[in-house]
């Protein structure tokens, strides 16, 4: 195996996660140089290899899923059928040689296999283990299941997202990836604690609570005011204009946010529409009251321009404005391309494919190669990490322990 680089070089992760949230957590560790060994099996395929809420069933085989590739870059794949006791023994031996274990099965499932934190710490006393679940590993609803939209609804974020006269907005699969990011953060904090004290620990992560934490001011605000926050779409409680405005061309929009009176004067000078001189628009409070009229005037100006032209004119005057991007338009955006957000990996079956690089520019963070084929690293893990001999490995394959 090629040597790893990066700030987490030397850290080994035994990764039992599947779907999106958990694998995104170990993906971030993999991008930072950790060696992530994904434990999977034909008997229990990561469903990102076969289907998804976003794309439905994926065409092609279990090694051809671009979504799986996006979420599992640079990981090693070890196939073990955990229903077999011999496989569970191998897991214990692997964990003994790892620093971190990650899992996102329903609370209790791994414990019943004898692979819970209390069991695993016997083989690895300073193990850091993170268990990620829908609503946490404790409490009356701990066995409840969910996906990204479930977490968004339970957490409170869906109810405050969206236009006021429309249904709540359960957001997208990005919710899962937020959970994974939080998981990776918690693991690094525990690693730092372990380096200082020698102590490992278990981390119980609730996916729903991740989303609640990312709107924490709403809870503090409710506690202080007793007022339930409402959906306000693209508007703001203090700023106006504050919204998305139609531009020239189908489905083209620009977002504009005017934070204070200086920016308001700048916007006025750029848009240069005499109607903006009306006294109804003189103060932020008054602009908010007359926002519908104000927005219509601003949109007269934007609708004659492309989003890029509008952004350029407004940013030159120090007014916050940006292109409203879709998935397709981001893949062509000059700034995004100049920042090198897309990198190419060479996948043995998908061929050359572009993926989004790590979310930081820093030394040692990189795209660590393509996702593994199912069982691609069985021999490496069993031989080089666990020290098994070839005949032993053959026997394990024969008996469908390695499966």
């Amino acid at each position: 195996m090629p040597a790893r680089e990066g700030p987490l070089c030397g850290i080994r992760v035994a990764d039992f996660t599947w779907a999106w949230a958990g694998p995104h957590g170990s993906l971030l560790l993999s991008m930072l140089g950790a060696e992530v060994i994904k434990i999977e099996s034909q008997a229990r395929l990561d469903h990102a290899r076969v289907h998804s809420l976003t794309a439905g069933s994926l065409e092609g085989g279990i090694d051809e899923s671009p979504i799986f590739n996006d979420l599992n870059l640079g990981k090693r794949s070890l196939t073990l059928n955990l229903r077999k006791p011999e496989a569970r023994d191998l897991v214990r031996r692997l964990v003994a040689r790892s620093d971190v274990a990650l899992q996102n099965m329903r609370p209790g499932v791994l414990d019943r296999m004898g692979l819970g934190y209390e069991d695993l710490r016997e083989t690895k006393p300073d193990l850091i283990m993170l268990s990620s679940s829908a609503v946490g590993a404790t409490g009356p609803e701990r066995t409840y299941a969910g996906y990204a939209p479930t977490f968004a609804c339970l957490s409170g974020i869906a109810d405050i997202s969206g236009h006021p006269d429309e249904a709540p907005n359960p957001l997208s699969g990005a919710v899962d990836l937020r959970v994974g990011t939080m998981a990776a953060f918690a693991v690094l904090a525990a690693l730092i604690h372990r380096r200082r004290t020698g102590e490992g620990q278990h981390i119980d992560l609730s996916s729903t609570e991740v989303m609640s934490a990312m709107m924490g001011e709403a809870f503090v605000g409710y506690g202080l005011t007793g007022r339930e926050p409402q959906r306000i779409g693209n508007r703001d409680t203090a700023m106006a204009p504050h919204g998305c405005y139609r531009c020239r061309g189908e489905g083209e929009w620009v977002s504009i946010a005017v934070a204070d009176d200086r920016e308001w004067q700048s916007l006025r000078s750029v848009v240069a529409d005499p109607d903006l001189a009306h006294e109804d628009f003189a103060t932020a409070a008054s602009r908010r009251i007359h926002q519908d009229r104000l927005d219509a005037i601003v949109e007269r100006w934007t609708s004659e321009r492309s989003p890029a032209e509008a952004v350029e004119a407004l940013q030159r005057a120090d007014v916050a404005a940006a292109v409203v991007h879709s998935g397709p338009s981001l893949s062509r955006d000059p700034h995004v391309l100049a920042r090198g957000v897309f990198e190419t990996v060479d996948h043995p079956i998908l061929g050359e494919t572009r993926v989004v690089r790590p979310p930081w520019k820093m030394d040692g963070a990189k795209v660590p190669g393509p996702a593994p084929l199912l069982g691609q690293h069985n021999e490496y893990v069993l031989k080089e990490i666990l020290g098994l001999e070839a005949p032993e490995i053959e026997a394990l394959v024969e008996s469908e322990v390695v499966y």
Binding site: H51, A218, A338
Partner: protein, 409 residues
């Protein structure tokens, strides 16, 4: 890496996973303060530098008790600045810059959110700070990153959220009625940037042991958000139209509000059918085939809506979950705070603040078995000036008056 081999002794509450890590924060509003809060709530010693006078603009954002603006009573500030100390310092003054450089000499991490080049213009670039403190990790959080044509573009959360593909990951943006799509509520994209920055910061702290040096971590808020849509955005970078047919699922109206169902695996569909008491339509032959169900998702949605109309969200939630179907009610903010599960897990705690007194705070989404959450209430503006300038940096009381009169602090 903190050198100390034992638990920090500065304050009894500082026994978290990051005890001993010292962090200087030069941040405003949400992203950079959230980054530093995440570190502080886990035990790092965070010193927040605010401008004299108004301080962090989050102090002016609210919501406020009785809707009366007050710089010490803003919910936004109170949440994002737990577990920190606050000093006031004016980087526009020469003395202020000298003091800042001294502070940066003694810390493990600086989290800052000035526009690219702004700190360098003040003589406080990463290179200048690292020359005096080679181990320092400087995490810079900006709307569009330190480089690239848009690096100086201004951005509010609205602009950021819509610039990162989250409102319309699948193509040209427009809601069903032709309006613009809506951003997420609150400051979600700013939180994304803060969390991503906190992860990069800790990675750089760990990496210091291998390299012997800190480093400059460049966090673009737009890229932090794009990374979370990597599965969709990444696809469009390869093919023009990668997404077709989606499985049934989505919001449905119950008697008292909305709930959501998401069906990915066959046993979950079975669970949903059981929950509804095996209605006749679900026994039809087409309904046994996942591909057919995808093709007729709207019809299924309508059937489920008819069934749900007479039931409450919670009835549906508990019944469906008992059958293994991933179903959840849309909960409002107050409903989350009253939710049994949240209560049992002590998701919310009371902290005591000198101005607002006892108030409720969400803790954290993780429970560390050995280093429990130990957040403390947000600081008053400049609350720790004396502790830092006099007790730690050795200025005299007269100096403090002089610095204050000259506007440096």
């Amino acid at each position: 890496m903190p050198a100390s081999g034992s638990r920090d002794t500065r304050a009894p509450t500082r026994t978290g996973a990051l005890s001993g890590l010292s962090v200087l924060e030069l941040g405003e509003m949400v992203a950079a303060p959230y980054c530093a809060k995440l570190l502080g709530d886990l035990g790092a010693d965070v010193l927040k530098v605010e401008s004299p006078g108004a301080g962090d603009p989050a102090r002016l954002r609210g919501p406020f008790p009785d809707a009366e603006p007050h710089p010490e009573r803003s919910a936004l500030f109170l949440y994002l600045n737990t577990s920190k100390r606050s000093i006031t310092l004016d980087l526009e003054s020469e003395e202020g810059r000298r003091i800042f450089a001294r502070l940066a000499e003694g810390v493990d991490v600086l989290v800052e959110d000035r526009m690219p080049g702004a700190l360098a213009d003040l003589g406080l670039s990463y290179d200048a700070l690292a020359a005096r403190n080679p181990g320092i990790v400087v995490t810079s959080i900006t709307p569009f990153g330190q480089t690239g044509p848009n690096r100086r573009h201004r951005s509010q959360h609205l602009n950021l959220y819509h610039s990162a593909g989250h409102t319309s990951p699948f193509g040209a943006p427009a809601s069903e009625d032709g309006r613009a799509p809506s951003k997420a509520g609150g400051y979600l994209g700013e939180y994304d940037a803060g969390l991503t920055a906190a992860l990069g910061t800790l990675a750089a702290v760990l990496g210091r042991e291998l390299s012997g040096r800190g480093q400059h971590v460049d966090v673009s808020k737009q890229e932090a958000m794009m990374g979370l849509e990597r599965v969709t955005i990444g696809r469009y970078a390869n093919e023009p139209d990668p997404f077709a047919g989606r499985p049934p699922g989505g919001l449905v109206r119950a008697k008292d509000g909305y709930f959501i169902f998401t069906i990915l695996q066959p046993h979950q569909w079975e669970g949903m059918v059981e929950t509804m008491g095996r209605p006749a339509w679900a026994d039809a032959s087409w309904c046994q085939d996942p591909a057919e169900r995808r093709a007729r998702a709207e019809e299924i949605q309508r059937h489920i809506g008819e069934w749900a109309a007479g039931l409450t969200r919670d009835e549906i939630y508990h019944r469906a979950q008992a059958h293994g179907a991933p179903v959840a009610p849309v909960r409002s903010v107050s409903e989350v705070m009253e939710w049994n599960q949240a209560r049992e897990r002590e998701l919310f705690r009371e902290l005591v603040h000198p101005e607002v007194g006892r108030h409720t705070q969400p803790t954290a989404p993780y429970r560390f078995s050995e280093t429990p959450w130990a957040g403390s209430a947000a600081p008053l503006l400049g609350e720790h000036n004396r502790a830092v300038y006099v007790d730690a940096l050795g200025y005299s009381d007269q100096d403090l008056v002089r610095l204050s009169d000259s506007g440096a602090i």
